[in-house]
């Protein structure tokens, strides 16, 4: 009896403490208590970040960044404390506190910031500036820019090694991957993905014109290798980060946009916009396991329910592939005369959240049933989505 009384007393204290905590958090203006509970939507033309509750699909918060900002990519720090975005037109990085949804810092960076990445320990925020040919290094402890690393050629995406020692930068305006020593924040090495063929001299229009270099050096799910697709060369280079050299060339279709890693670690996919195919790469043998028909202007690949979903931005279709049989598995019509952007997948690999900019909506695709739900009025020109810890967080 006495024991029971003590237990009740203890439980009461706990409940009171929790209630007090909840009230306290509310008093502090806490809007998002659980950073994994929301989908972040970056709205290019309304210059804001919208936060959609994953369960209710209601917009639970919105952070206006300023006029003429044009935010490009949104990402949450691995510790769930901050959400950041680069304002492409404002040439600034924006840091938002997740709990309160307050814009806590605006930091001038270089020209046209687009894609970004966090170091695994959340300490460093690397902001790529494609038109400034640089990476801005932002210290997330002091919330200040501590360095600008020059010497890149249209740096599109940054990826960190799991131990945070090195960062790899895809240069879309060149055919090499930049290696950054994260301790010194210096570009220490350039890894050419492949040699430009000798026959290129006969085709200056292709090789001297608009270059489609390397979008991203994507780590394999086990973190042992990086895969970088080069659009102009039609090659995926496999990089061993221990020696920082290319150990294998995989020839894929024409003009691969970039590489996307399947969640089970078996396959990766390059959408090849030059010939409207996808190349499915076997990560064990580093060979092309299948080349299958797809659609025009592909902007992303998501994986859910054992399938790959390839976004064809201008056709209004999402192409579906069975990742067990490596066979086409139909396509989902998302609409007519619409522009599909990019998507993220929830951490259960069940649903995808696809930004559709023409009608200012997010399309939620159930990976298993392929049913589509429309969430309207998320903001003007939604450009991309992001979920903390999702394996499919990417941008154009």
């Amino acid at each position: 009896m006495f024991t029971c009384k003590r237990f009740i007393l203890g439980s009461s204290v706990l409940v009171i403490a929790l209630v007090a905590l909840a009230v306290g958090l509310q008093a502090q203006g806490v809007k998002i208590a659980d950073p994994t509970s929301v989908v972040m939507i970056v709205n290019r033309d309304s210059n804001d970040l919208a936060f959609m509750d994953i369960k209710s699909h209601a917009i639970v918060g919105r952070v206006f960044l300023g006029n003429n900002v044009n935010p490009h990519m949104v990402m949450m720090s691995p510790d769930g404390r901050y959400v950041v975005t680069g304002g492409t037109r404002a040439n600034k990085a924006f840091i938002v506190d997740v709990k309160t949804l307050q814009l806590v810092k605006t930091i001038p960076v270089d020209i046209a910031p687009e894609h970004l990445a966090f170091s695994p320990d959340s300490r460093w925020y690397y902001q790529g500036n494609p038109e400034g040919d640089s990476i801005s290094v932002i210290d997330m402890q002091s919330l200040s820019k501590i360095k600008t690393i020059p010497g890149f050629a249209e740096p599109l995406n940054v990826t960190f090694l799991p131990d945070g020692s090195k960062a790899y930068v895809g240069n879309y305006g060149a055919h090499w991957v930049g290696v950054v020593d994260v301790r010194r924040h210096e570009l220490v090495k350039k890894i050419p993905i492949a040699e430009v063929p000798g026959v290129s001299k006969l085709d200056p229009e292709k090789y001297l014109g608009e270059i489609h270099g390397i979008n991203i050096a994507m780590p394999s799910p086990d973190g042992k290798y990086l895969y970088a697709a080069d659009g102009t060369l039609g090659i995926v280079g496999v990089i061993d980060p221990r020696e920082d050299k290319v150990i294998k060339h995989i020839r894929v279709g024409k003009d691969p946009w970039r590489i996307y890693m399947g969640h089970d670690g078996k396959y990766a996919i390059t959408p090849n916009n030059g010939d409207q195919t996808i190349s499915i790469i076997d990560l064990k043998t580093n060979t092309v396991a299948a080349t299958l028909e797809a659609g025009p202007n592909m902007t992303g690949v998501n994986f859910a329910a054992g399938k790959a979903f390839v976004i064809s931005s201008t056709s209004g279709f999402v192409y579906v592939y069975n990742m067990s049989s490596l066979k086409p598995a139909g396509r989902i019509k998302m609409g007519t005369n619409i522009q599909l952007e990019t998507a993220t997948t929830d951490t259960k690999d069940e649903k995808m959240y696809l930004a559709e900019s023409t009608n200012h909506e997010v399309l939620i695709i159930d990976g298993k049933t392929e049913q589509v739900e429309h969430v309207k009025n998320v903001g003007l020109f939604p450009w991309g989505t992001h979920i903390m810890d999702s394996k499919d967080n990417y941008c154009h």
Partner: protein
């Protein structure tokens, strides 16, 4: 008893920890007066300290004054607040030169540049907030403001030259509305209403740069214009007799071909296409009576040195673009038996026996319809009909039908393969409808190496004609340039009448640029014109060179 006590203690500790945790989290966002900014020293590079005292003109320490320092090298910003005695301290600043400022009542009361914080050093800066310091700061502020205005002016000029500022655009959208019994329109469904499709103008906000605008306008203009494509080729072949006594020996042949393609989008998911071809020259088929064409381009040769309309059709896509219908003047073999490794005389094998299944039996292009159902799940179903005689007097005359089922998959952990089964009928022969059946496959064994095969059997007068071919195609491996391809193939054609042909060919196709290709071919052929006769047997070796420009 001990256990229940520990439960109570645990619960209390947990509650306290949660409450304290919340408190700490809140405290991190604020900074106590006089305290240096909270930093994780474990992860920090070498840094230095800066401290001092803020006084007024009379020398009295000023409390609750915010001192801000900004790195002159990278713009990193830090601030600290003075304690009751006017002391401030920055415990760990990154090594840099700093601009130190104090703002009071919205005005800068003090500013000093080039304050050096050295590695592991302890810099001292005492600040006096008197009239002289305020005047110096104001002057500094003025200069700073002028510089900012100048930067802003430049930025506005840049923006005006590259951006279209927030002008809302109008766009007409196709929407579904609901009409009630009174004919009133509703955006949402109401009882008794029916859905109706209509069009509505809407304002949209899509900010674009001038470049984006130009690109969109050009893309829109291209959609409404006719695009022209050209495929020009020159195929030169040399013939050396290896067997028989035909006149043709050690002779050269050349056939020049130019195709003009016109494509125009004329409605949603609907295009018009026309192909006009002109040919000139003499192919080996003019002198060597082989069972199949030794130059695949010869099939296009209708009249020398004249332009001929090869194809002119409309194509539309229905049911979510799953079903495509093509109608007009067609070459039905373009839609069926589409073998990935041996189906193109311009970039693969030049001999027609390795381009088309020889028992398909379609001689000419003509009026027809082709339907293709492609649900994008690997299965394709096709049906087409076409007239096989340009002199036919009615649509039922010389009617040629083709049906095909195709399947794409990755068998036995191999890369993708395409498998097709087709069936055709042809009522050109007045004695009755002739039927034929065939299979066609192309299977990649590795990303670089693929095999292909065809087989066909066709009814002919009194029996059956037979055809088969097989070979390999290589790309993305064992090549000189990345886009090069090469292959080797064998084809055998046997007619019920006794005629037989065995043909072997190899080619290497150099992809010089995206628009220019140069190929070398070597064909060996042995023909037996009749069953019993061996004297009429002839054989040839034909090396060739093919130059193709497509743009």
């Amino acid at each position: 008893m001990r256990r229940s006590l520990s439960v109570v203690r645990g619960a209390a500790l947990l509650a306290a920890a949660i409450v304290c945790g919340g408190g700490v989290a809140f405290a991190q966002a604020t900074q106590k007066p006089g305290q240096a900014p909270q930093m994780n020293m474990a992860n920090m590079d070498h840094r230095g300290a800066l401290s001092g005292r803020v006084r007024d003109g009379a020398g009295t320490g000023q409390a609750e004054v915010t001192v801000q320092v900004v790195s002159q090298e990278n713009g990193a910003m830090f601030s600290a607040t003075t304690d009751a005695q006017g002391n401030y301290a920055f415990g760990a600043l990154p090594v840099s030169k700093y601009e130190v400022s104090v703002t009071r009542n919205g005005l800068t009361a003090y500013r000093k540049r080039d304050v050096d914080v050295a590695m592991d050093g302890k810099a001292q800066l005492d600040i006096t907030l008197d009239a002289a310091a305020a005047a110096a700061a104001a002057d500094f502020e003025r200069q700073d403001l002028l510089a900012k205005i100048s930067t802003l002016e430049q930025r506005i000029t840049d923006l005006e030259s590259s951006a279209v500022l927030s002008e809302p655009e109008t766009r007409t959208r196709r929407v579904t509305v609901f009409l009630d019994a009174n004919g009133n329109e509703h955006d949402e469904q109401v009882p008794g209403s029916k859905p109706v499709v209509t069009y509505r103008r809407e304002r949209t906000y899509r900010r674009q740069t001038i470049n984006e605008k130009i690109e969109a306008a050009l893309e829109d203009a291209a959609k409404h214009s006719v695009t022209v494509g050209v495929d020009a080729a020159m195929a030169t072949q040399f013939a050396g007799r290896t067997k028989g006594d035909l006149d043709a020996n050690r002779r050269a042949y050349a056939l020049a071909s130019a195709d003009l393609f016109f494509t125009a989008g004329i409605a949603q998911n609907t295009v018009f296409f026309a192909d006009i071809v002109g040919l000139s020259g003499a192919p080996p088929d003019a002198e060597i009576p082989s069972l199949t064409l030794l130059n695949g381009y010869t099939a296009r040769l209708v009249r020398q040195n004249e332009l001929n309309l090869r194809e002119a059709w409309l194509r539309t896509e229905l049911f979510g673009q799953k079903l495509s219908l093509t109608a007009g003047r067609l070459d039905l073999t373009n839609y069926f038996d589409h073998n990935a490794l041996s189906n193109d005389e311009s970039t693969q094998f030049i001999s027609d026996a390795l381009v088309n299944n020889q028992v398909l039996g379609l001689d000419v292009n003509g009026t027809g319809v082709a339907a293709e159902l492609d649900p994008k799940n690997g299965i394709k179903v096709k049906f087409g009909l076409q007239q096989n005689n340009n002199d036919a007097t009615n649509l039922g005359d010389s009617l040629f039908t083709l049906s095909e089922v195709g399947y794409t998959f990755t068998p036995f952990a191999l890369p993708e393969g395409n498998y097709r089964l087709w069936f055709r009928t042809d009522n050109t022969d007045p004695l009755g409808t002739r039927k034929a059946v065939g299979v066609s496959l192309d299977q990649k064994l590795s990303p670089a190496f693929g095999v292909f095969g065809r087989w066909g059997r066709s009814e002919s007068e009194g029996g059956h004609d037979r055809y088969y071919s097989a070979g390999v195609g290589i790309s993305k491996g064992f090549i000189f340039n990345p886009e090069d391809t090469w292959g080797v193939g064998y084809a055998q054609t046997e007619l019920f009448s006794g005629q037989q042909e065995k043909l072997v060919e190899g080619y290497y196709n150099f992809s010089l640029t995206e628009k220019l290709r140069l190929s070398f071919t070597l064909t060996g052929v042995v023909d037996r014109p009749e069953t019993a006769a061996t004297t009429g047997k002839f054989g040839y070796l034909l090396p060739g060179i093919r130059f193709q420009a497509a743009f």
